[in-house]
Point group: C2
Chain length 268, copies 2
């Protein structure tokens, strides 16, 4: 490939970085792909780094040495995050979302790729320091969110399922008490999905009493994994007594008032 | 914000385009955000367009007029797609994946954000002309793939579920015959998830006899939607008689040979 103008090269490099967050690219990868010397490449990387940081869009981090290289960490400004979460809370507060039984319809937002992409990056930004090896959730509604948290961290998603499934091979299952249903339920995970000693970050859309999250913790531990964090899009104020502690939530649900047709949910 | 160098601006614009595939940005959005005249912006857009097309990474499409603007459509070269699908097929051919009962363990690949991101873009590229308003799937294993197809098209995902769920509000359900289980099963979808006349693209990970996909078609039609396409990551050769026709698949599963410990799966 013949040499090209810097501007074309940095555009293409930007695309590659954004498509692969947290992926370490050796400098050689870009030198070969774009047929440039390392000194030229360093200037390109500097330009991208400067622009991303200037706009609060992300960081390029570099590691020197033979195994070194450069990787991209998406970012956003705190103000952008706050505005976004306010908007999500506002959408969730629409009284049309009230369902019988003190519930909110929110599957549409949780299945909107743009919304869960942004949420995934916000969780990653907040919990970056946990350095999880994988993201864990339980079917069904939380899967899209958990997948895009996994994408933001550049780690795999592992899914627990209700009951055991023939298509997954041998699995480990546990019983847990779901607070909302007040019944004993079963969730299972294929043995090969999670490896011993892996650092697991648990993600779910809604946490009320914490029964399901507690079940996920037990399931991960049963497989020898190490739970490094638990995070939820929404934490419900009720019940006040939670079975888990040390968790992160982005929004807090104060009240669903079926009589006055109001939902009170706000960013934390 | 003070004016900046072109290179910094196009890097930031590239990030915005890539994060929002198929989203129409009025020129005014960028003029305001970057404090530049429309003529300058046009040159920036041309540079990004040229670079993306030069590397086969995507297209910037423009619409003139008062409601016009510019949007990004991700792309990849046919060779890259073919290489990627060959690699996925190779990973799926690993005999360690054989499970009792003529099944393949593939949840790990279907939960790898990088793999499903690429698959989502490949489906979008192949089925762009269908112009779906939403992507539809059924829980559980196909959800990550369907979500990233939805992301590539910039449309919402809607999920059918087995049985009916209290957290989803009033729903429509249908019975269908799953070929693999040879039993009558039920799937349901909240009424508010899908709107009449919407163009629906059905996505699932694996199609054998087509019973589940047929159920999804019936469910969409029951809600008044218009199924514009059906697409699967893998089409199994067996059974040869399918209940659906006119579908797209990326890989074909020829045989799982439990005795000789071999899986034959190849790109189509």
């Amino acid at each position: 490939m013949e040499k090209m103008k810097r501007i074309e090269r940095v555009i293409a490099m930007t695309k590659i970085f954004i498509d692969h967050p947290h992926h370490l690219f050796p400098y050689k990868y870009f030198c070969d792909r774009f047929n440039v010397a390392k000194s030229t490449l360093s200037e390109d990387v500097s330009a991208i780094k400067f622009s991303m940081e200037n706009f609060g869009m992300g960081h390029l981090e570099t590691m020197p040495g033979a195994n070194g290289g450069v990787w991209f960490v998406p970012d956003s400004t705190d103000q952008e995050d706050q505005d976004f979460l306010l908007d999500v809370a506002k959408q969730l507060s629409n009284p049309d979302r009230i369902l019988p039984g003190n519930l909110i319809y929110m599957t549409d937002l949780l299945c909107d790729p743009q919304i869960v992409s942004r949420l995934g990056e916000i969780f990653m930004k907040k919990l970056h320091y946990l350095k999880p090896d994988c993201i864990m959730t339980v079917e069904t509604r939380g899967i899209p969110l958990a997948l895009l948290v996994a994408r933001a961290f550049n780690v795999p998603l592992v899914m627990a399922r209700h009951g055991s499934f023939v298509t997954e091979g041998s699995s480990v299952s546990i019983n847990y008490v779901s607070g909302s249903a007040k019944t004993i339920q079963t969730m299972a995970m294929p043995k090969r999905a999670l490896h011993p000693k892996e650092n697991v970050l648990i993600i779910d859309d809604l946490m009320k009493g914490g029964g399901t999250a507690h079940g996920l913790v037990k399931l991960a531990e049963e497989l020898g994994a190490n739970v490094v964090g638990k995070a939820f899009l929404i934490e419900a104020v009720e019940p006040t007594k939670k079975i888990i502690s040390n968790y992160t939530a982005l929004l807090r649900l104060y009240k669903i008032d079926e009589i006055n047709n109001k939902i009170d949910i706000r960013p934390i």
